[in-house]
């Protein structure tokens, strides 16, 4: 049975069930909640298409993150193309986070990160990719990727602490 498992590939359904959540978290971190759905769909459809060619024993999660990385970039570029300059930009809801959610500030904090920091944090901490592979994805050295990840974490921590102090202030005098 063990040799059989080593020589075979799981049904794609199992890949979706096991990795779908991680890929969605990564897409959300890169694109925000709204556009993440489209990037997730593009990622898994492309993965399904290519699945028979994936070598047996390959790191499925790293493979999926690589595809998601490209699909997210496609979405960012398409978004930039769609954004035609107008005289009076219409008021827009934030594309990151759910309106009214108490954690919107946090999505904003992630969104405020420069793209490389956001990607490095998502790929390393959500998908568990080593910085060597992240560097390859981002076209930079492993050290630069590691630095981007560390800077991203630092910025997030600062944003969280600011928020925490605000929450603390606003709840002053309230009975818990």
């Amino acid at each position: 049975m063990e040799t059989g498992q080593a020589a075979s590939k799981k049904p794609f359904e199992a890949v979706v069930r096991e990795r779908g959540a991680t890929v969605l978290r990564v897409c959300r971190a890169i694109l925000g909640v709204h556009d993440a759905d489209d990037a997730w769909s593009d990622t898994f459809l492309a993965a399904l298409q290519a699945y028979p060619d994936l070598p047996v024993g390959a790191n499925v999660e790293a493979w999926l993150v690589t595809i998601a990385h490209r699909k997210c970039i496609d979405h960012l570029r398409a978004g930039a193309r769609r954004a035609l300059p107008v005289e009076q930009p219409p008021e827009q809801p934030t594309r990151l986070g759910l309106p009214g959610e108490r954690d919107t500030e946090l999505f904003d904090a992630v969104a405020q990160l420069p793209p490389k920091q956001r990607q490095a944090v998502a790929y390393h901490f959500l998908a568990g990719l080593p910085y060597k592979e992240i560097g390859a994805l981002l076209g930079s050295s492993p050290e630069a990727a590691r630095r981007a990840g560390a800077d991203g974490v630092k910025a997030l921590r600062a944003a969280i602490q600011t928020r925490a102090s605000l929450v603390h202030l606003s709840s002053k005098g309230e009975i818990q």
Binding site: S8, A21, F44, L45, L48
Partner: protein
Amino acid sequence: MTVDPSPGHTEVLSFLEPLNVALEPALAGLHARLARDAQLTHTLDIAYRTVDSPVGKLLLAATDRGIIRVAFELENHDSVLQLLADTVSPRILEAPSRLDDAARELEEYFAGTRRDFDLILDFRLSRGFRLNVLRHLPRIPYGNTASYAQVAQAAGSPNAVRAVGTACATNPLPVIVPCHRVVKSDGSFGGYLGGPEAKRALLTLEAAA
């Protein structure tokens, strides 16, 4: 001090916790969308679903050519799907719509209101004499039985009684291809993929209707 090798990791994950908002419902919707997109772009080689029945949960799987597999719980649905991945294609998704007709006809069959199945079948998992036997089985009328020897004769190899037994025991499309109607010459049930109780239940159902 903690001995956690990466003390920052848990902390960072707590920063990113908001990314989990309504994750499960989002994934359910995305799965359905993937199944639809895969079907439309012809990238879904095998669609499957399960249906409840009086003989337990049945797995139904279909290629674009037709229904390729029906499996009892006793066969272990995960193993059956893995075998399909190994032998046909790993591009497999739970995608119920391709099996709507099969599910409806099975429901009618178990309700006693359907005697014959009108479904397109993909016989690619069976070859040679076994395939011969399977193609012959639907000729045993609903509510009747035939012996292994009779089926061997009808399939053109009167001496291949044991091979008929094997063909029935490895029928990839039980219930729809009625191997449960093949019994021993002495009238006893003989073996069955879904277990002897399932075979008894199917024959009892057909006798009553």
